[in-house]
Amino acid sequence: MTQPTTAPPAKSGFQMPSLSTLGPLIALLLACIFFATQSDRFLTGNTLSLVLKQISYVAVLAIGQTLIILTAGIDLSCGVIMALGSMVMTKLAVEQGVPAVLAILLGLALTTVIGGLNGVLITRLRLPPFIATLGMYGIVFATTQIYSNAQTINNLPPALNFLGNTFNVLGVPFTFGAVLMVLLFALAWFFLGSTATGRHVYALGNNPEAVRLSGIFTDRLLIGVYATAGLFYGIAALILVGRVGAGDPNAGQTENLESITAAVLGGTSLFGGRGNVLGTLLGAIIVGVFRVGLTLAGVNSVYQVLITGILIILAVATDQFSRRKS
């Protein structure tokens, strides 16, 4: 079982393969040039603000997803955990009369615990992440429906709507949710690149045995990663609530895959250990740019799904290609 114990120092794996970072950037640039020729309304501050606003909650989910994928895991339950978090926050605040800030904190605590629970299932019961989070998807989705009786919650207090509010920069409105998203990406980027624990997350995806042998409690680290992801899902829930202005029990069913899409388009390897959270932001922006761009060009929205599919395959193929070369 154990390898000869010349424990190699955990390799950070942080060096980016150039092709899989450049690929998405080139795709984004080409798309922008194309859309700019199709509509003179594309290259405006408003388009930028729209894209940021529309991607904000999925992109924050995708931060959690990226952390997990870096450990060679996957989370299929992130969208529904977000939906449950948003229902708990809105229902407590509107129907149970809990002060809004407390309701938000309870929602965040709940999503963090559920995220951590995924980690416990994976480390203690030795379930593959795919299975653990697939099971969790069903449990959390059904719980949300039962808890909410499939009813939307309206008339939210201002604190819950806050992240949907806007402020103007040079006449272009930006939401606080979009700003928070950018801040969270900066935070995650710093954590992954410049802290020891961040490096361990990469190492966990590259060679968990080596990490264990170098004296790190890998199970604890992994549970921590899933719990942190859960916290991000809770924050995404708050952004979603602010954006929609309601608690919607049916939210989150497609966002699981959208978050994976963002991470993969941004060059994070599904085999773990390689990738960058800023790439994930780029991936989310690409999807958002196509959505807005195709509308402005007057193209039917199914083409957006088609193009996203093609981009995913290109992104992973690029990753495989650069992996084989290196």
Partner: protein, 336 residues
């Protein structure tokens, strides 16, 4: 030996579940009626199930329910049909998610002697089922179109439509009905695909609030002069309103919708939605159950299309367009 324990626990659970299901199926000789909705979660279908359950209890029938996982989940509905036939259902009521793909599964059930009634949405071909109890979606669209035309008056309309998803007949019927009602030339109920003449921006909303909001934002970016918004249902309308409000245009833009859910009618009362066409899921379901019980007793099947009715709900009536008030809408709405 953690694994063994987990396995044992799972096995016990599975056996208990199986025992419960079998004993439930073995109960008595009440006629069994199956109701298969598109999803378990949409309040429209939640209400439909309530209506069916009430009528089944009243008539002494046993109601089984099933649903797809999400809108468009045909495989889930096929499984539900198979299970209900296996469980001895004599009548199956279904709101088809995919009007064409569900047809072979329905044909098998009918070959086994089951009467199948489509609720809410038709199958393609319509003859694939014994009968259809549904809102006339084209008329629902027509009503809001006529109302919008009168209400806009001489103002030039710049229209955005937030539709369902591509190729869905209910979405097409409502959209085209709206356009004919608004007086766009060349649109009739025979048009099989979505007509986009006179529409400044057409986007799919999937009947979902968040996606409706995104669609409206993008339409406004495409054409800021939009002043009339047709929405497939009221969640999409709520999303559109959010986007318009963010752009400071909620006062200048007229939103019309279809469905008549309670949250939607409250939005009519609040002035968010100008007018909505209300449909009656409870009625569809209770009529279906009654027909099923009658079939079990007498062997007589129902056939053809039964219109379960639609009313225009608005607090700003327009001359020449028949409508009911928001108060009436609230008294007859579904959901919460």
């Amino acid at each position: 030996m953690q694994k063994a324990k987990v396995f044992a626990a799972t096995a016990t659970l599975a056996l208990t579940a199986a025992a419960v299901v079998t004993s439930a199926l073995a109960q008595g000789s009440q006629p069994i009626i199956g109701l298969i909705t598109k999803t378990d979660t949409n309040p429209f279908f939640v209400k439909m199930k309530e209506g069916a359950q009430k009528e089944a209890t009243r008539l002494g029938a046993k109601l089984m329910t099933g649903a797809g996982k999400s809108d468009g989940d045909n495989a889930g509905q096929v499984t539900a049909i198979e299970n209900m036939v296996a469980a001895g259902a004599k009548t199956i009521l279904i709101t088809p998610s995919d009007s064409k793909a569900i047809v072979p599964a329905i044909a098998k059930a009918r070959a086994a002697g089951v009467m199948v009634i489509a609720l809410d949405s038709p199958t393609e071909p319509a003859s694939a089922v014994d009968a259809l109890f549904a809102t006339n979606n084209y008329n629902a669209g027509l009503l809001i179109g006529q109302w919008a035309k009168k209400t806009m008056g001489s103002k030039k309309a710049v229209i955005a439509t937030l539709d369902l998803f591509p190729g869905q007949p209910v979405g097409i019927a409502r959209h085209n009905g709206f356009l004919e009602g608004f007086g766009v030339a060349g649109v009739t109920s025979k048009s099989m695909s979505q007509v986009n003449t006179s529409v400044a921006c057409a986007q799919d909303s999937f009947g979902d609030q968040a996606k409706g909001q995104t669609a409206m934002e993008n339409c406004l970016q495409k054409n800021p002069d939009i002043n009339l918004v047709y929405t497939i249902n009221e969640p999409a309308a709520a999303g559109a309103y959010q986007a318009l409000k963010a752009a400071g245009k909620e006062k200048d833009v007229l939103i019309v919708s279809v469905d008549g859910g309670c949250a939607g009618v409250r939005n009519v009362e609040a002035g968010v939605i100008g007018a909505t066409s209300q449909q009656y899921p409870l009625k569809m379901a209770s009529m279906g159950v009654a027909a099923g019980v009658n079939y079990a007793k007498t062997g007589k099947k129902v056939s053809g299309y039964t219109d379960t009715g639609v009313n225009l709900i608005t607090n700003k009536p327009a001359a020449g367009v028949k409508s009911q008030t928001g108060k009436y809408g609230l008294a007859n709405c579904w959901g919460q």
